[in-house]
Amino acid sequence: MINAALQFAQVGTGATFIQTLVKSLALGSVYILIGLGFVIIFKATQVLNFAAGALSMAGAMFLTILLADGGFPFLPFANPLAPEAGENPSVIMWFVHVLIALAFAALLGLVIERITIRPMVGQPLFAMAVITLGIEVAIRPFNLDATALEGRSLRVPWGAESWTLADAVVPKSYVAAMIIAAFAGAAILLFFRSKLGVAMRAVAFDQEAAMAQGINVGRVFAIAWAMGAALAALGAIVYGMAPFPPGGAVSQEIHPLLALRVLPVIVLGGLDSVAGAIYGGLIIASAEVFAGQYLSQWNSTLGSGYSTIVPYLVMLFILLVKPYGLFGTPEIRRV
């Protein structure tokens, strides 16, 4: 026991701690982005979006197609803004491309909502969730197979560069992830103050009452899906930046599972709570990263990659105490 504590102290130098903290905040940012996508869709339309994985990966694919291929196939014109082959774009141009890719992802979300979700309004929650599972299964081959995924770089302008801060290595991508998540979070909070956001909150509260007040519920649904898809795509793009495991590219192994890893986050926070997604993202990400860093000496006992199931274990224990998550609305059960 004392031995173990000593080992713990040796691993935990200050620099390691700062690095771990930065890493967990960065991973938390990714979780927050994708989690917000889940929450907005669930809040507005009562759909648990299992298709988030395919949507987010599709968003990242749009970015790499724009940047690496210089435009979409089958179209007569190329992307006029694309950088020279083999060169990375400037930071501003990269963000412009990200915005274009997010617009495409939002469009995909709109189409999906219009075709598959709108006819199902009023159906049981489970049926709607399974529809999104169907979407996930149907889009996935296009993401994984049709585009010949090998070596699809995201052309991040700062690559894998990093700063050094008091012996700790702080990658630029991690800081960028936090900034992007902060912007997105602030934008969402402002959005809920706007007229449309208030309408969305009204729809979340009671669809029929909102409709009676003259709110266009269909439009709210469409906007929620567009935002949810764009946020999921943004999360996948951020996760594709260099020190994250995919290493600056869209990964066939890691990206499809990313959204499933966010499920504990939203369950922990509560499916319909924006604040829950933020707190949940930070809690789950720090549990995952800190466990990965400080329990690594027991790697042989726990099995390699044990940190990926830490979120599920944390989720299980918290759900036993609080069945609707930390901030979720308890379902009112009638006899």
Binding site: M120, G134, V137, A146, A148, S300, G303
Partner: protein, 435 residues
Amino acid sequence: MAFNRPLLRTSYDQDAAIFPTFTQKGMMTLFGVVLLLMGLGAPYLSAVPEWFLGPTWINPVTNMLPLAIAALGFNILVGVTGQVSLGHAFFMGVGAYTAVALGGNGDEPLACIPFHEELGFLEERDQCGLGLPMWIWLPMSGIAAAAVGIFVSPAAMKVRGLYLAIVTVGLVFIGLHLGRMFPEYAGDFESGRKWPKLDIRFWKEEEPLVALSEDGQWFGLIHLSEEQKQFFFLLTLLGAGIVLAKNLVRTRTGRALQAIRDRDIAAEVMGVPEFQYKRLGFAISSFYAGVAGALFASYNGRMSPVNWSLFLSVDFVAILLIGGAGTIAGTMLGTVFVELTPEVVKTFTEWLGEQTASNGPIGWLANILLTTGESGDFGPISTGTVASGWPMSVFFWNFVIYGVLIIVFLIFEPLGLYGIWIKIRNYWKRWPFSY
């Protein structure tokens, strides 16, 4: 009097009968006989599945049978008890690994190498397994899975609805990680390990009593191939599973489970102990899953932990929704539809590939749909052996078709294939009146 009232039931026995009418009894007998003759390769009857599934049709059909058993269990949990679960693949995995630990080849369990000591040459290592016969490992795999189901059920009692679905997704991932943690049982994470063969032995003797994994002569009369033997064996087990499930639904227990599905608080008010019956629902469903997982793995011979993934669970959700939740006939229809559609599409594409040179509408269709690798060919389905890239192979198109089918069924026919059957039946029953 029951004159002129064909469906008047005058006793509870009639009401609870499995096949209440004479027609249903006759139809089911006929169906069973046809299935038997198909399996035996009767000339005209086996031509029908051959046309859909190709000459080796018995392989995909046999592969489907364990999944049908698992689907029965899934129906009991989701369709009858109303507990939405995406963790069925996990319970199948539990059953399969119990089977391989009890029945697999290997030295004594104590001689197993402690895990992760040498990750290098997993294939050359002795893997754990007691080498016990099937009459031990098959029931034990079900019991082990049921025990895990009982262990998990308190969590299921706490959370409900979509939260339960997500918790059970967590189970699948925890299961996958366990597969990574214990390579001496699970084998290499990518390539897996071998399962015991489907042979009936009395104990560990060399020569099995009934060798299901070899061709042979039965009763000196019928020559049966390996595939046919396994087909009949699994079909018998599926039949037993169907009878058990059907009986469960129409007994006191089944009614209690259905009451919980319909409104759990109301059920509790009426004196149905909610927790006990939810736990029972989990246990029964996991038992089916465990047995099915053991059969599925040993029929396929080699499995890796990756096989027990979330997509297997999604298969069962699709089966239930496409077939019709809560009914056993619907579950079976759904299994056949979901598991065999990819094979049918594959056979059809292969057939279409042979027609590219022919004139007429079929030739045009083939040229539009298929890409054989020549330049200027823009069909979306690739028949070449290209691993990836735009003209996708049928294998990947099948996923797209599968996803689209889930969506289409949910939007247009929420009651599934069983609902379509009910509509057709009622139409003819009332004919010539509209209601």
